[in-house]
């Protein structure tokens, strides 16, 4: 369709040149306009003279001037019809036929973007959430919040997205509103703290620490507040306390959590022993007899699955769950978990990408 319009426009442009070239030109006339003009000039002088805008003798001279021009124009030889020059017309036609499309196509090929469709704002807002780009989704929620500033859920959804987009100040505002409107929970306190840290370029401020303390008090097992409390201790120079907090955290961390490995390195940098408890847990499971081992693993997996069913926003959790099902040779459950994960994390393109990467890795695509 696009190329059809391009072709039509080009054709119209070329025809606008070729059409007059093909027509027989008007016969050259006398200098009609000159004659009319000098006649009008003469009349004008007479009018001026009648109103004594010009002295009679000057009017006489002016009329003589105009009359001289009039005669010259009236007697101008009619230009002889130029010898028809089909060769010149042919040359011009061919040149235009080649030049116009060649120039416009090649210039457009350099600067044009035929592959990009129009993207009117209204149409982008109406696309289904699964295909909606993150920016538009955010804009949509923002518009909704501008109308309903008391909808705490909107702020709760926006805050992590803002963090992800690097809009730390907006994240702080959103997290604060969510806290205010929905009441404090461990997650909300932790989120607010995280936003504050991000806004302060990674420094755990006093306010942020307070928020993490509140979160840790509500849910002592939550990893995020403890990580940041450890960070706070490290930034305050209290290495021992940082080691203690992080050591415990690493000990309870899931085996394949990448953040646990990072944390181990940081603990090592603090000069402490990386937590061994993880290995100890693995060793304990290893030591169990075959049936007992599987049931132990299954117990952990079921716990994870039920936790994710309640709160689906944990990407690492989903990835671990899918892997675990594969270890247990439960391919159908793994597939179902993949679909659930995608549904829960639809707003986060990065998460979707990682889920899909895992699906490919495990041969679960399609």
């Amino acid at each position: 369709m696009l190329w059809l319009i391009f072709a039509l426009l080009t054709a119209a442009a070329v025809i606008s040149v070729l059409w007059p070239l093909a027509k027989t030109p008007r016969r050259a006339g006398r200098d009609e306009i000159g004659v009319a003009l000098y006649k009008a000039q003469l009349a004008g002088i007479e009018r001026d003279e009648a109103q004594s805008l010009v002295a009679p003798e000057d009017a006489q001279a002016a009329k003589a001037e105009a009359a001289r021009h009039l005669m010259a124009a009236a007697e101008a030889p009619v230009e002889p019809a130029p010898a028809a020059s089909p060769k010149r017309v042919w040359l011009a036609s061919v040149a235009v036929l080649i030049f116009v499309p060649a120039l416009s196509m090649s210039l457009y090929a350099i600067i044009g973007h035929p592959e990009l469709p129009d993207a009117p704002f209204a149409a982008r807002l109406q696309t289904s959430p699964a295909h909606m780009d993150l920016a538009v989704a955010v804009a949509k929620i923002e518009a909704h919040l501008a109308q309903h500033p008391d909808d705490g859920r909107g702020y709760e959804v926006l805050a992590p997205v803002y963090l992800h987009m690097g809009r730390a100040d907006d994240a702080v505002l959103a997290a604060r509103e969510a806290l205010r409107l929905l009441g404090a929970t461990a997650e909300r306190n932790a989120l607010y703290g995280e936003a504050l840290v991000s806004a302060a370029n990674g420094v755990v401020t006093a306010e942020a620490k307070q928020s993490f303390d509140a979160a840790a008090a509500k849910d002592p097992s939550a990893a995020k507040p403890r990580f940041f409390l450890g960070l706070a201790a490290e930034q305050e120079g209290d290495k021992a306390r940082a080691r203690e907090i992080w050591g415990k955290l690493v000990a309870e961390a899931p085996q394949d959590a990448t953040w646990a490995q990072v944390l181990r390195k940081r603990i090592a940098a603090l000069g402490g022993e990386p937590g061994e408890s993880q290995d100890r847990l693995a060793a304990t499971i290893e030591a169990l007899p075959e049936a007992g081992r599987l049931s132990a693993i299954r117990g952990m997996v079921d716990g994870l699955a039920s936790r994710l069913a309640q709160n689906g926003q944990d990407l690492e959790g989903w990835l671990r769950l899918v892997r675990s099902y594969m270890v247990l040779h439960e391919t159908d459950k793994a597939r179902a978990a993949l679909i659930d994960a995608k549904r829960n994390l639809a707003g986060d393109p990065n998460a979707i990408a990682r889920i899909e990467a895992l699906a490919r890795e495990l041969g679960l695509e399609g």
Partner: protein, 660 residues
């Protein structure tokens, strides 16, 4: 899809402009009528393509298509529809597209309305117009493409500069461009006449209506721009001698001189060199103006662009077109035949003096505008040439012009009698002097204002002396007068009104001396006196616009205890750009205005306010309207229809038209 097809149409327009730059000129040299006949249809097609591209860009702005860089940078989905449309030309890329649109519009108009024109002249005019179009299309496509795309469209745009979100922007740039770019036609005529070597009354006859159209638009555009600055910048000033304003004033001065020249040339074939020179000069100054505004060498409200590649490109266009045309002029000027002869004291002589004064004014503005830039470029020193410089140079040049204006209108052609004319102007002199005496007795006040007011009234009266004599001279009766009104050419009325408009503007300017100004902080409920009025500042009320929030300071204006008007000066905040702008509250009382702008609204409702009483200030812009009205009267004059009447007879219309 409309975006990319619009983009392609623009590329295609460039290809056609190049074709039309060559074939008609080749045709006129080879005397091949077929090649010359190419020019009009291609000019129409070129206009169609540019218009399509322009519609495409406007559509993208209206539907907030943020896959276009231009829309992202200058629009916002919540912006009111009117500013989505005007925002198209509220930025560098879009305004350049408007520039080319107007350029091709004029070419199309010449193609449609100048059929009776000698074919070689028309072919060459359209070819020169195509050179300009090709240069600017290339500039747009290579350095300022409004159709640049983004693969990942952002969710929201940056919004338009709040200063530009104003009805003034809807009118000011298009009018100004009609003027600026309209002068391209006179330039093309001059260049074509130089190429074909045909510079005579016929040439003047065809160039004159285009000059008038450009002049009218430029007059209105400048007035509109000045009024816009007056009410949006919040300083109560209407002319700042800002380089951008000067950039529009210079072509206006040149076009004004040109307008008078073409009249002489059409009637007497005199002032040929002046006409050609001013045609080239006027458009060259438009180009200089475009360069100043678009290259970013200036930093002011208008300078949206600051990209050196653009500046160099426009400079190149400038050098080629100005240099080329003046070179051609130098080459051909020597061979020009002497036209009608005239004595120094005559209508023609007066107009030569007019040309000299106007071009000197123009040169003054040019120096005042470019000297600081040149100095900064050479030594790095920044100086500012402002009102004091222009008051000392421009004003003394303009005063004699005002004095001489009525003389020019009354002087006979070829040879005149100065004393006789002065005698006829006694009424005007008397009116001016009496007015001065009255004002001095009533207001006292600054001598400059009194004198200028007198001059203004003299100009006003003098403009109509000639007309009055021609209508009411000798023994009169109602029927004779009405017959004379019908017989008198309309351009006579046009001249009178255009000159009178200048007098009206001058009166408005002179009255600024009697104005009053106060800068104070006001508590809610506080009263303040300004001029003959008393203002009561009531309260600050918050409000919300579509894409801004505002604080409105309701103020009631009273005189002698009675309420005469209410004004609502406001300060607006535009969150998308994080910018504030003030919206002045203006009440027009008589011809004067009470003007109030507020800023720094404190929590307890105390505001800092600037309050002005400006007597007769609206006359400044009313004068411009009167001038434009005079221009329109001239444009409707039947002498412009000579060619058309001729054609009608030739086509043998069944009911013959009455002979004109």
């Amino acid at each position: 899809m409309i975006v990319e097809t619009g983009h392609y149409a623009l590329v295609l327009a460039l290809a056609l402009a190049l074709v039309n730059s060559i074939l008609p000129v080749w045709g006129s040299i080879a005397r091949d009528r077929r090649l010359m006949a190419v020019a009009p249809p291609v000019a129409l097609m070129g206009f169609g393509l540019v218009a399509y591209a322009y519609v495409a860009l406007t559509t993208a702005h209206v539907v907030s298509d943020f896959s276009l860089v231009n829309v992202v940078e200058n629009s916002h989905s919540a912006k009111p529809l009117i500013y989505k449309i005007t925002g198209v030309w509220g930025n560098h890329e879009g305004s350049m597209l408007l520039w080319v649109l107007v350029l091709s519009l004029f070419a199309a108009a010449v193609a449609l309305f100048s059929r009776s024109m000698p074919q070689d002249l028309r072919a060459n005019v359209l070819a020169v117009q195509s050179w300009i179009a090709a240069a600017f299309l290339l500039f747009i496509l290579l350095t300022s493409n409004p159709f640049a795309r983004l693969a990942e469209a952002p969710a929201e745009g940056n919004d338009l500069n709040p200063l530009l979100q104003d009805p003034g922007l809807a009118i000011h740039p298009p009018l100004l461009y009609l003027g600026y770019v309209g002068l391209s036609i006179t330039y093309s005529f001059a260049a074509a006449a130089l190429i074909s070597g045909r510079i005579d009354a016929v040439f003047a006859r065809f160039v004159r209506p285009w000059t008038l159209i450009a002049w009218i638009s430029l007059t209105l555009g400048i007035a509109m721009g000045s009024y816009w600055a007056y009410y949006t910048l919040g300083w109560g000033g209407f002319w700042f001698w800002d380089p951008v304003e000067n950039a529009s004033l210079m072509p206006w001065l040149a076009a004004t001189a040109l307008l008078h020249c073409t009249a002489v040339m059409e009637k007497r074939e005199a002032l040929k060199i002046w006409t050609i020179f001013l045609s080239i000069l006027a458009f060259s100054l438009s180009l200089v103006g475009t360069f100043l505004v678009r290259s970013g060498v200036l930093t002011s409200v208008h300078a949206f662009a600051s990209d050196p590649t653009r500046g160099v490109f426009i400079l190149l266009i400038l050098v080629i077109f100005i240099g080329g045309s003046f070179a051609l002029f130098a080459l051909r000027a020597g061979g020009l035949k002497q036209g009608g002869l005239f004595a120094p004291v005559s209508r023609e002589g007066a107009l030569v003096l007019n040309n000299l004064l106007l071009t000197t004014c123009c040169a003054t503005v040019f120096i005042g505008t470019l000297y600081p830039l040149a100095l900064e470029a050479v030594t790095g020193e920044k100086i500012s040439v402002g009102a004091p410089f222009f008051n000392l140079t421009f004003v003394p040049l303009f005063i004699p012009l005002f004095i001489l204006m009525p003389f020019g209108q009354l002087l006979p052609w070829k040879r005149g009698d100065l004393a006789g004319v002065a005698q006829r102007l006694t009424v005007a002199f008397g009116a001016g002097l009496i007015f001065m005496a009255l004002l001095a007795a009533w207001r006292g006040g600054p001598a400059v204002s009194v004198i200028l007011s007198g001059v203004a009234l003299y100009v006003l009266a003098g403009s109509f002396v000639d007309l009055g004599r021609r209508l009411f001279g000798g023994d009169i009766s109602a029927s004779i007068v009405s017959q004379r009104v019908r017989c008198l050419p309309r351009h006579a009325f046009g001249t009178a009104f255009a000159h009178a408009g200048l007098g009206v503007t001058l009166l408005g300017l002179a009255a600024t001396g009697w104005g009053a100004e106060k800068i104070i902080s006001l508590k809610p409920g506080e009263r303040v006196e300004i001029g003959p009025y008393e203002l009561t500042f009531e309260s600050v009320v918050p409000g919300n616009g579509p894409n801004y929030s505002e604080l409105v300071g309701r103020t009631v204006i009273g005189a002698k205890g009675a309420v005469v008007a209410t004004i609502e000066p406001a300060t607006r905040f535009y969150p998308a750009r994080g910018m504030n702008r003030s919206e002045a509250g203006i009440a027009t009382l008589g011809f004067g205005q009470v003007y109030m702008s507020i800023a720094d609204v404190a929590a307890n409702g105390v505001v800092n306010a600037r309050i002005f009483w400006k007597p007769l200030v609206s006359l400044i812009w009313i004068g411009a309207l009167v001038m434009a009205f005079g221009g329109c009267l001239s444009l409707s004059d039947r002498s412009f229809r000579v060619g058309i009447a001729r054609r009608a007879r030739k086509a043998q219309v069944p009911s013959p038209q009455p002979a004109e």
